[in-house]
Amino acid sequence: MDTRTMRTIEQIRERIITLQDEREELARAWPSEMECREGIAEHVKMLARGGLAQLGAADLRKGRIDARHVDPLCLLAVFDPERLATQLADMALAEFPDPGLSAEDRAKRLAKLESDLLAAEVDEERMIRKSPIPIIRRGDARPEIVLAPDLENSAALAA
């Protein structure tokens, strides 16, 4: 009985580690091409704001432009933002050809992983509580599960 319990807990812990690794991998996954282009376009807008600030809006209005001390990338962002954004995005996508994940897909997969992880951790805690021999809990076990008086209501644990 003890050996079987230990083996089951070991298997559950292996599954927990696998799911945690998958979650980390998901967090590191590239964004989709569209999100990448949108993100770069936003960044170019920010560069343009910086460029305008460096040029001096008042001087621009008066038609006086002194671009000697302005960051060249900011200048490009001010005068040709679409082209700069497209070129930067093309460069980024050429260097990292991974198709990436859209925010929606990422959220869906993350929700599924979290749900599987919660179920595995609840199973682990249930086995530990049922075990006739004391079993050391993982240091990174979830407090909401370890402290829960009632493990059956796992939906409430996730909330």
Binding site: I136, R137, G139, D140, P143, E144, P149, A159
Partner: protein, 137 residues
């Protein structure tokens, strides 16, 4: 007076709702304390063994040339030989025991660290989310 009474009643309700969680935290703390006591006991034995090992080793090293030593009559110094031989045997036995204790020490550390870490996390969790848990109960 009414707000005070209401606060007291609310506080009592919260404490009652959190009691099962507190109970589980107390159990975890007890397990962590037991693991810590075990670790301390093993650590103490390990320290004593290391100290005794160093003492014996110094003695044996200092008398490393005993096998060639003779008494004033030119005969082997048997008393000294026996003493050093016993020290060598004790040292060998002590090294074996120390190896076992090192293994126990490592296991005791492996048992204590995660429990200690978990207790800290659970305390923080109850501090941060206690009111939410009580409201849900």
């Amino acid at each position: 007076m009414i707000p005070v009474t209401r606060n007291h009643a609310e506080r009592a309700r919260m404490m009652a709702a959190l009691e099962p969680y507190e109970q589980r935290l107390r159990e975890l703390k007890r397990a962590a304390t037991t693991a810590h006591h075990l670790l301390m006991a093993v650590s103490e034995e390990r320290r004593e063994l290391i100290s005794e090992r160093n003492r014996l080793k110094s003695y044996v090293d200092a008398n490393a040339s005993i096998d060639n030593r003779t008494n004033p009559q030119g005969l082997p110094a048997l008393d000294e030989h026996a003493s050093v031989r016993n020290a060598r045997l004790d040292l060998a036995a002590l090294e074996r025991r120390l190896q076992e204790v090192e293994k126990l020490y490592s296991e005791a550390q492996d048992a204590w660290r995660p429990q200690c870490q978990l207790v800290t996390r659970c305390e923080e969790f109850l501090n941060d989310h206690g009111p939410r848990l009580a409201a849900r109960a």
